[in-house]
Symmetry: C2
């Protein structure tokens, strides 16, 4: 499957997996609203592609792939809340709490955190109990306080006073910590679970985790750059907020040009890794090209 | 084990299971704060006792029992938020968001939703993958939009206009729906998982689920009554809020005396059930006596 075919499959299955007509409908509507907003579907695509790379059947990864997109939507719903980033727009539409109210947005996020693994448990019985337990271990690790939430907590703390070495970390280390957890952990989850579904061994899991870490950081740098150089129309959310708030980002720390250089360098390393790991994946290469294109860097940037 | 021994064991294990020294400490501290506030520990006790009733080893149920108390704490943290019930006190102490701020309280609740099942997965490997998958199925069902969150959503909606048959339900039916999910589902989860850990069959699961439903509704009626007749010191939270807000509760719908009668009647049925199911459990009977004592009804109430 190519990138577009993957995305179409994810969109179709997300719609199927998310019911709307169950009482009380309010909560299921709120959950489905954010999950089905148009998005790049990077995480579910990575899950299915990782399964394919390691010799698995892509179909087997579909429920887990969709569950991870639901988890991603959960983080967006709660991140956008007034007590967090207080954002009014996401993917070009009003944020969840703007449409359904704050209480329902909190509850829709909570509900997704249980609904997503439930989708895996209900629809992946053919994988057998042992693999299902492994996937649950991965899911709870990266979704929780050791994973994406650690990044979010540090990010919120950093907004207040990152210049004062909070948590005893220099800003560079703090930024690494935030994006390892806030972004790269949600790349590790799909790439690792896809591999687990395919039956990949420990060594392959280590490799794909390393690649996920790099890809995640690259994606975050591109996001920080786009917050400066892009428009609301392109991003579907309020932009320029990071700079206005003097937030700790790659651009505020290293400046725009150095951030672009860092990004180009990390993406080159990702390509090297894909080659040296002997991973044949047009889709991952297409994702990397896509990131380059969005921020306007070419293959020889900074060389 | 008697009731107090169970409670002591739960408190000891909750303390052990909840780390405080992991970076970033803020989130682990916020999670542990609400989980370890003194409480009746009804749900974990029910889980361990159900395991014992059906011939299992109580030790095997400890991680699941503690995880369910963590889930319960999660519901309390988010219920107390300003956008929900906006409560300042819980179990006699300031609520989570009052101590750690609103953003951290949202994230601490989110984190508990993944941390709790993680505790089961990490500490119950001896149960084997098949039972672990079953426990995950139960956990995600009752924790999510089909379970406790359905109750919470309906409860919030009901606060606004329960007299107008919202959701097309008469107030009596709406009240049933709310408390079946908001309260009884979090009794079903421990009683069912305890039985599953012990290896109970489908028929036993049905029986214990029926008992959980009745016990849960009874507990909710007692809570509604106590909101009227109790004091802040006894309850550890602001009382009288339901009445002031003209909230849909057993007392606002049926009045104080009829609510007490209903409660006495349901608790008698619980005792009948325990006898007819041939369940030998001093602990469950002690829990029932405790509920009667708190609201001041004796064995012959309404007879």
């Amino acid at each position: 499957m190519n990138l577009n075919e993957y995305i179409e499959l994810v969109n179709k299955k997300l719609d199927e997996f998310m019911p709307e007509d169950i009482f009380p409908q309010d909560i299921f509507k709120a959950m489905k609203y954010t999950v089905t907003l148009p998005g790049k579907r990077l995480r579910p695509v990575m899950c299915m592609e990782s399964c394919r790379i390691f010799g698995g059947n892509v179909e087997d990864a579909v429920p887990t792939a969709c569950a991870i997109e639901m988890l991603h939507a959960q983080t967006l719903i709660h991140d956008d809340l007034p007590c967090m980033d207080n954002d009014d727009f996401r993917r070009g539409k009003p944020t969840n709490h703007k449409v359904f109210g704050e209480a329902n947005a909190v509850l829709a996020g909570d509900a997704l955190l249980s609904f997503a693994p439930q989708i895996i448990l209900k629809n992946s019985k053919n994988l057998g109990s042992e693999k299902l337990v492994k996937i649950m271990e991965e899911y709870t690790q990266y979704a929780g306080a050791y994973g994406v939430i650690a990044g979010q907590v540090a990010d919120i703390e950093a907004e207040k006073n990152w210049k004062n070495n909070i948590f005893g970390l220099e800003p560079e280390k703090l930024l690494d910590f935030i994006h390892t957890h806030k972004t790269a952990d949600l790349f590790k989850l799909p790439l690792r679970t896809g591999a687990i579904i395919a039956g990949a061994g420990e060594q392959d899991l280590e490799k794909i985790t390393e690649l996920a870490q790099k890809l995640g950081v690259a994606f975050q740098i591109s996001d920080d750059i786009l917050d400066v150089i892009s428009t609301f129309e392109e991003m579907g959310k309020t932009i320029g907020k990071d700079q206005n708030a003097d937030k700790l980002t790659y651009v505020t720390l290293y400046g725009l040009e150095e951030s672009k250089c860092k990004l180009a360098c990390i993406l080159d390393k990702c390509c090297d890794m894909i080659n040296s790991f002997n991973i044949k994946s047009e889709v991952l290469l297409e994702i990397i090209s896509g990131i380059k294109k969005r921020v306007g860097i070419n293959d020889n940037h900074c060389k």
